[in-house]
C-alpha cells in the first residue's frame, strides 16, 4: 500500500494563487545505526496554508521536521525555504522560521514577558521592537494576566502557548510546530488550536506534526500521512476522503444477540446507492450513512489506528 509521493503526484494548492514557500525533494535520513527514518520524501508547502504531517509515533515526522529546522543533517535530498537552501545556509533560514520543538522545557524562574523578549532579541529584534512585539504577543496569546508570572507556575497549556509565542515573536514567515498539543488536556489543546488558527487566518504559513486525527482535521487545509518514513498520501481533506474506494460508511446496530441489545455494525461501500441497497435488504429502521473520516482513510492506508 505504501508508495512514495513524487512531486508530480502532489496536489495543487488550496488557492490557485498560492506559491510554494517550502520545497522538499527526495529527502533521505538514515541514522548511524542504519535506521531509515525518512525515505525519499518530497513535499511542497504553499504560502498561507496549514499543512499537517500525520502519523503514529516512529513514523518519521519529527525527523522530517528537524531537518527542515536545520537541527538534523539530511543524508541526501534538498530542502528549499523561500529560495534559500536549508542545508547550506542554516543561519539564514533560521531568520525565516519560528519553531516549537517537541519535548522542550522553558526556564522555570523566567517570566512569560522575559521569555518573549530574550528570544526575540536572539532572533534579531532590537530593544524597542522586541518590547512592542512582546506586548503584542502577550495580548494575542491572551496571557495579559500571566505576563509577569514565572513560567514554572503556569499550566502545561499556558507553557505551550509561551512556546508558540517564542516561535512567533520575531514574525517568522513560516511556523514549524512539532506535536504542539501532545500531552495537553482537551481545554488546553483547544486554546492552542485557537492560537494556531488565528495565526493562519492572518495569512501565515504553518507546518505541524500530530498524531491526533481531530487536530489534523480541524486545523489543516492539507494533510500528509506518514508511515515507515514515507509520505504515503498527501492532499486536501476531500482528496484524502476520495482516495479510498469505499468512501461511504453505514453504521447501525444489529439485533441478533440474546439480550436483544444490538451490537454496533459498520459497513463500508463505494457509493451511497450500494449502502442504501443494504439498508433495504436488511430492513434497517435506524442507521446512519456518512462519508468516511480521516481515521478511516488512515486505517485503510496504514492498517493502524491513531489517537482520535
Amino acid at each position: 500500500m505504501s508508495t512514495v509521493v513524487k512531486p508530480e503526484q502532489m496536489t495543487a494548492p488550496v488557492r490557485a494563487t498560492q506559491k510554494v514557500v517550502l520545497s522538499v525533494r527526495d529527502l533521505v535520513k538514515q541514522y548511524k545505526d542504519r535506521t531509515l527514518a525518512n525515505d525519499h520524501i518530497s513535499l511542497d508547502v504553499y504560502e498561507g496554508e496549514l499543512i499537517s504531517i500525520l502519523g503514529h509515533n516512529g513514523a518519521g515526522k519529527t525527523t522530517f521536521l528537524r531537518q527542515i529546522t536545520t537541527e538534523l543533517r539530511p543524508t541526501s535530498g534538498s530542502i528549499i525555504l523561500f529560495d534559500k537552501d536549508v542545508i547550506r545556509h542554516p543561519q539564514e533560514v533560521k531568520q525565516l522560521m519560528g519553531v516549537t520543538p517537541q519535548e522542550c522545557e522553558l526556564f522555570q524562574s523566567v517570566t512569560v514577558r522575559e521569555h518573549l523578549e530574550f528570544f526575540g532579541r536572539l532572533k534579531g529584534l532590537d530593544r524597542k521592537r522586541v518590547r512592542a512585539r512582546a506586548d503584542q504577543m502577550i495580548e494575542e496569546l491572551s496571557m495579559t494576566q500571566y505576563a509577569n508570572k514565572q513560567v514554572g507556575f503556569l499550566s502545561g497549556g499556558l507553557k505551550r502557548r509561551v512556546m508558540i509565542g517564542i516561535a512567533m515573536v520575531a514574525e517568522p514567515k513560516i511556523l514549524v510546530l512539532d506535536e504542539p498539543t501532545t500531552g495537553l488536556d482537551p481545554a488546553s489543546r483547544r486554546e492552542v488550536w485557537h492560537q494556531i488558527s488565528a495565526y493562519v487566518a492572518a495569512g501565515q504559513t504553518v507546518i505541524l506534526t500530530t498524531h491526533y486525527m481531530e487536530e489534523a482535521e480541524r486545523l489543516s487545509e492539507r494533510i500528509a500521512i506518514m508511515q515507515g518514513g514515507k509520505i504515503v498520501l498527501a492532499g486536501k481533506l476531500q482528496e484524502l476522503y476520495g482516495s479510498i474506494k469505499q468512501s461511504y460508511k453505514l453504521s447501525y446496530h444489529d439485533s441478533f444477540n440474546i439480550d436483544g441489545v444490538g451490537q454496533p455494525v459498520i459497513v463500508y461501500g463505494s457509493s451511497f446507492a450500494e449502502l442504501k441497497a443494504i439498508i433495504e435488504r436488511e430492513g434497517l429502521a435506524e442507521y446512519s450513512i456518512a462519508r468516511v473520516s480521516l481515521e478511516d482513510v488512515y486505517f485503510e492506508l496504514t492498517g493502524e489506528r491513531l489517537v482520535v
Partner: protein
C-alpha cells in the same frame, strides 16, 4: 557585534534564571570556598607563605569548581531538559551560547574570589592585588570550558553527567599542585601536572599575591590552553546533528 549582543542576552537569561536559585548560588560561590580557606589557614598555623599558597589554591579551587561543575551543570540541564532547542532554533552561533554561560559562571567565580580575598585580609595576610589576576583567572576558566562541553555532549543522563563534572572539578584541583608545591608530588605525577590548567593558575596567583608580577609564562600557557579548549568547544558544540 551581533555575537556580543547574543552573548549578553544568553548571560541575562541565566542571570534571570538565578532568581530561583540565588541561595545555592551564593552558598557555592562565596561561603564554600571562603569557609574552606579559613579551615585550611587555621591548620597551616602562623606561616604566612603557606597561607598565601592556600589562598591561591582556594581561588583556583573556586574558579575550577565553577568553570567545570557550574558550566557543566547548565549545559547538561539545557541538553537533558530540551532547552538547548530554544537556542538551536534561533540564528545565534554556538560560541555565543557557550560564552554567555561562561560569562555567567565567571560572575559566580568573581564572587568566590572576592570572598576569599576578604577572608585573607580579615585574617591579616599581606595580600598584593594585581589586575593581572583577571586575565589569569579568565584564561583558567576558559581552559576548563572544553571539559564541561565534552562531558555534557557525551553524558548519557543528567545524573551521570553531574557526577563526572563534580568528580573532575574537585579531582583536577587535588591532582594539581594547588595547595602544595610541585616538588612534593611523586616523580611520575610531577611531570604530568604540567598539562593541567590549575597548575599554572595556582603558580601565577601565588606569585601575584606575593607581589611578583613575573607571570608571563603562566599567562602564555593558560592562553594556549584556553585557545585549544575553545576550539574543541566549538568543534563539539554543533547546532546540527548528523
Amino acid at each position: 557585534m551581533n555575537t556580543l549582543k547574543d552573548i549578553a542576552v544568553v548571560f541575562r537569561i541565566y542571570l534571570t534564571k538565578l532568581r530561583g536559585e540565588s541561595g545555592p548560588f551564593l552558598l557555592t560561590s562565596f561561603l564554600f570556598p571562603a569557609g574552606m580557606y579559613l579551615f585550611l589557614s587555621v591548620i597551616a598555623g602562623d606561616n604566612h607563605l603557606n597561607k598565601v599558597q592556600l589562598l591561591a589554591g582556594s581561588m583556583v579551587f573556586s574558579t575550577t569548581m565553577v568553570s567545570i561543575m557550574w558550566v557543566g551543570y547548565h549545559l547538561l540541564e539545557d541538553r537533558f531538559r530540551g532547552r538547548i532547542k530554544l537556542f538551536v532554533t534561533t540564528p545565534i552561533r554556538p560560541i555565543s551560547y557557550i560564552m554567555g554561560i561562561v560569562c555567567f559562571a565567571s560572575m559566580q567565580a568573581t564572587l568566590g574570589i572576592i570572598g576569599l580575598l576578604i577572608v585573607g585580609k580579615v585574617i591579616g595576610l599581606p595580600i598584593h592585588l594585581s589586575l593581572l589576576m583577571l586575565p589569569l583567572l579568565a584564561l583558567g576558566m576558559l581552559a576548563h570550558t572544553a571539559i564541561s562541553i565534552i562531558i555534557s555532549r557525551f553524558a548519557t543522563s543528567m545524573p551521570q553527567g553531574t557526577l563526572i563534572t563534580d568528580g573532575l572539578g574537585a579531582g583536577l584541583v587535588f591532582f594539581s599542585p594547588v595547595y602544595y608545591n610541585i616538588s612534593q608530588l611523586p616523580p611520575g605525577i610531577s611531570h604530568a601536572v604540567y598539562i593541567l590548567p590549575p597548575t599554572f593558575m595556582a603558580d601565577g596567583l601565588r606569585k601575584l599575591l606575593t607581589g611578583n608580577s613575573n607571570v608571563g609564562i603562566d599567562l602564555l600557557v593558560l592562553g594556549a590552553m584556553a585557545t585549544i579548549s575553545l576550539l574543541v568547544s566549538l568543534k563539539m558544540t554543533r547546532w546540527r546533528e548528523d
